[in-house]
Symmetry: C2
Subunit: 186 residues, 2 copies
């Protein structure tokens, strides 16, 4: 079995439960059933492990969202695709999503190059920007709209996590709240 992968999985589990600094590399190795020193064969430092885990998960999430959007054309469709794909992914991969949140709110974010962060966001951001300009939404700053969409998505995610609805109800909430968002923006 891929030991690198096993280490990443163990790290994810432990980081989310205890936090980065409360999780020694020794525990990660143990959880993965791998010797302490071997961890440093795969990852030069603990930081490198954390960052590798982040980019890994982030890519998965972005790939999912991008796939959902690719065949959409109208701005509303694209936006809804972005919105529901993000939420569905987050609900389906709660631990991974929680890790992303933790990472984003940690000092690690400064250690990863800006381009690498933006790179993931770029395609969607660009698409939205394009859309906003051509369509008649609101005469608002694009960055503000982007903030609004992100915030809305984030908060509904929090809401869904605490409620633990059925798949059906979940989808309904996503639809409903997207319409609210759309209403606000147009």
């Amino acid at each position: 079995m891929d030991k690198r992968k096993r280490l990443l999985e163990s790290a994810l589990k432990l980081f989310v439960e205890f936090g980065f600094h409360e999780t020694p590399t020794s525990k990660i190795a143990k959880e993965a059933g791998i010797a302490n020193g071997t961890l440093f064969y795969f990852f030069a430092t603990k930081d490198a492990l954390v960052i590798a885990l982040y980019t890994d998960i982030k890519s998965q999430m972005m790939a999912h969202v991008a796939k959902e959007i690719e065949n959409k054309t109208s701005l509303k469709e694209v936006l809804k695709g972005y919105y529901s794909a993000s939420l569905e992914w987050a609900m389906k991969h709660k631990t991974k999503f929680r890790f992303i949140e933790q990472f984003t709110n940690s000092t690690y974010l400064n250690k990863i190059a800006d381009e690498a962060i933006q790179e993931h966001l770029q395609p969607i951001y660009k698409l939205l920007k394009q859309g906003f300009k051509n369509q008649v939404i609101q005469k608002l700053d694009v960055d503000m709209i982007f903030a609004l969409v992100s915030g809305h998505t984030f908060s509904i995610n929090q809401y869904l996590v605490t409620k633990d609805f059925s798949k059906n109800k979940q989808a309904k909430v996503i639809d409903e709240t997207f319409e609210l968002l759309w209403k606000m923006l147009t």
Copy 2:
């Protein structure tokens, strides 16, 4: 001078810049011009210091918001008071607000009793709940509305922080975005 207070101030500054775990107690004491050991006379453990700082700041923020709301009557007024007071406070006390964010997204949150967290939220939450029931907003789950309001507030705060507008422009954005929020909810 109140050494306890000095320690709290130094801790705030360093925590926000470097993070909790990257800030040793020795640096906090040094920054405050106080001996290392003395810190542990005022705070039994480092955790105790972090938590004291959190409850301290949170109280300040809540006091400000509560004061802005107390003489408001209609739901819209109350909501707007809550919204703009939160944003204004956050803008005026960026470091403190950043600390709250960091704390909330850390494992420390689990170490503080649930009541203590809710206690701060209760008055406003209750008020809103009351209002939502009596008024004709949307036939939506109250928790969802609360999430929406929080998310909206949070995202506009992020937006304002990155833009660094003048006081005037800031107030304008707050007004504008509140109307958007209100439009969405009604």
